[in-house]
């Protein structure tokens, strides 16, 4: 299934990795910027995994952050409450294991949420997934062991540029290989026409649940990374607005384009930070509470995308480097 193109993507990623690392070490890129890059990479993981569910398989999900919440809280509970480990290299295997378990827990939830999707489509599925995300948030809000509304605090800062980068890259490659192999056409077929997919002999149930499980797994891992980056997991962080943010990234990049997801995750994370800085300094100068207008600008951006470039930045196109060699049938 894997072809010669994987090394090309690998080389490009390795190149980017080295460049960022060197820039950070030489002081060209300060730690604040590196932090934003880490956040961007986590959003890459979230957006690419949502793309598998939403873009490639066509199952409109509004609860992606719910999966991330499961991953963040499960992995955070393991490293913080269960083992209470310090973020040292020796303890790293515990962190990796916690991430994987968090991802698996999210995948399990993904399978559960995948089942209503067998019967529901479009708006109805969107509402079910929205409700699901809110249920997760509310449950977390009420479990005092993990901090309740205060959030799970004091999570060791295991996440760093290296692990965040590797996870984003692995997510991209896995979803890419799934989507572009001849086998992965199953996902596209379901998006295109579920009835016809079933009639060519494709087990649509299996593939829909699979899309939810895999998408949720990576979202769970991303949630775990976020928790161990910010050193906390908070219910509101994983609420509806969070899911919408990922959705905006997906649509801005182009539903169905992994290249678009990567670019949009970076662009919008940086835009958020820039807006934060610009608006904060503006409010300091004018003494007006302009900082809150950030989300308004964000929503406006979404409206503009829908009005003027419905297909997003990339549509369904991919950069050459992300294209797996056509499987010969």
């Amino acid at each position: 299934m894997n072809s010669l193109k994987t090394p090309r993507l690998l080389f490009a990623a390795a190149g980017l990795y080295v460049v960022i690392l060197v820039m950070n070490l030489t002081g060209l890129l300060n730690d604040y910027f590196l932090h934003i890059i880490n956040q961007s990479l986590i959003y890459v993981t979230l957006t690419v995994s949502l793309n598998l569910i939403n873009g490639l398989t066509g199952q409109f999900s509004l609860g992606h952050m719910g999966f991330a919440a499961v991953g963040a809280y499960v992995s955070g509970t393991i490293t913080t409450l269960l083992f209470n480990v310090k973020p040292t290299l020796v303890n790293y295997p515990i962190f990796v294991l916690a991430l994987v378990i968090g991802g698996l827990a999210a995948a399990l939830v993904g399978v559960l949420i995948g089942f209503p999707s067998l019967r529901l489509k479009g708006d109805y599925l969107a509402i079910v997934t929205l409700g699901f995300g809110e249920i997760i948030r509310t449950i977390l809000n009420n479990i005092s062991v993990v901090g309740g509304p205060r959030g799970l605090l004091g999570i060791p800062k295991f996440s760093n540029f290296h692990v965040v980068f590797v996870v984003a890259f692995v997510t991209l490659v896995v979803v890419r290989n799934l989507a572009q192999s001849s086998h992965g056409r199953a996902f596209l077929a379901i998006r295109e026409n579920e009835l016809a997919a079933e009639l060519v002999g494709l087990n649509t149930t299996r593939y829909k649940v699979m899309a939810f499980a895999i998408g949720a797994f990576f979202a769970g891992v991303a949630g775990g990374l976020l928790g161990h980056l910010l050193q906390m997991a908070h219910p509101t962080q994983f609420g509806f607005l969070g899911s919408v943010l990922v959705l905006i990234m997906l649509y801005a990049g182009g539903v169905g384009s992994l290249t678009g997801s990567v670019i949009a995750a970076f662009a919008l994370t940086f835009l958020t930070e820039t807006l934060r800085m610009v608006l904060d300094s503006l409010s300091d100068m004018t003494n007006l509470p302009l900082g809150d207008w950030r989300m308004v600008l964000y929503a406006l951006l979404l409206i503009l995308i829908m009005l003027f470039r419905t297909e997003g930045l990339m549509g369904t196109r991919e950069a050459k480097i992300v294209v797996l060699k056509e499987d010969q049938l």
Binding site: A189, E192, A196, A197, L199, L202, T204, T316, L329
Partner: protein
């Protein structure tokens, strides 16, 4: 090859098929004709596994298949061309056909069948790199039938293949159906265009509000006074 007995299918509280029985002998073309809402499409959907029967039996090649999943019936040999074609719009014609060979392990066989489709429908061959959704209605119908050819099967279910097509294309599609049948595929055809359907069919059944009412050899059914008045307009 296919035997349907006392089939009853309901959508929730609404009973769409009350008592439908018919036989499709191997190698023949059988048509179900009837008005809108008579239950023609529902009958086909039940045969291909898209609807689960409430009562009655569907026997295919001697095996009870009522209630089986549609994707499993595909490998048993039932190919269903659904109403409204249902092609994959943003995949290319080639990808549409490749996907149709999903259940076939031997990819050389898929390619052989695709070539068969291309000789059968030269128009489809010309459009091979184009997106399915950009084809004209007639070409989409050809692609849908072509997809069923690739999927393969001993029984081909066709739901309103003439819908929305220009008369000249209707003739072409019906010619192809006869040709497919001559190659050994049994055909179950659902049509509103009763005249054309009766012309090519060996046997015909009339469906009325969920019941099979008239049955017989196609030429006999087309002479039936009620059929002539209600469906043939003469």
């Amino acid at each position: 090859m296919l035997s349907v007995k006392n089939l009853k299918v309901a959508y929730g509280q609404i009973v769409a098929l009350k008592d439908v029985s018919f036989e499709v002998p191997a190698g023949k073309i059988v048509t179900l004709i009837g008005a809108n809402g008579a239950g023609k499409t529902t009958t086909l959907r039940a045969v291909s596994g898209l609807e689960k029967p409430v009562a009655g039996s569907i026997t295919f090649k001697g095996q009870e298949v009522g209630g089986m999943d549609a994707h499993k019936l595909v490998s048993l040999g039932i190919a269903h061309v659904p109403e409204g074609r249902k092609i994959f719009p943003t995949l290319t014609v080639r990808e549409n056909l490749e996907l149709a060979g999903w259940t076939i392990k031997d990819k050389a066989e898929v390619r052989r069948r695709m070539d068969e489709v291309f000789t059968f429908f030269p128009r489809v061959a010309e459009r091979v790199g184009q997106l399915g959704g950009t084809l004209s209605g007639g070409e989409q119908q050809m692609l849908a039938v072509g997809r069923a050819i690739v999927t393969g099967g001993d029984l081909l279910l066709l739901d309103e293949p003439s819908m929305g097509l220009a008369p000249v294309l209707v003739d072409e599609i019906f010619d192809k159906i006869v040709a497919i049948n001559k190659q050994g595929t049994t055909v179950l055809l659902v049509e509103q265009n009763a005249a054309e359907a009766l012309e090519i069919a060996d046997f015909a059944y009339v469906l009325e509000t969920g019941y099979t009412t008239i049955a017989g050899p196609a030429d006999q059914v087309s002479c039936d006074a009620k059929v002539r008045e209600a469906y043939l307009g003469v």
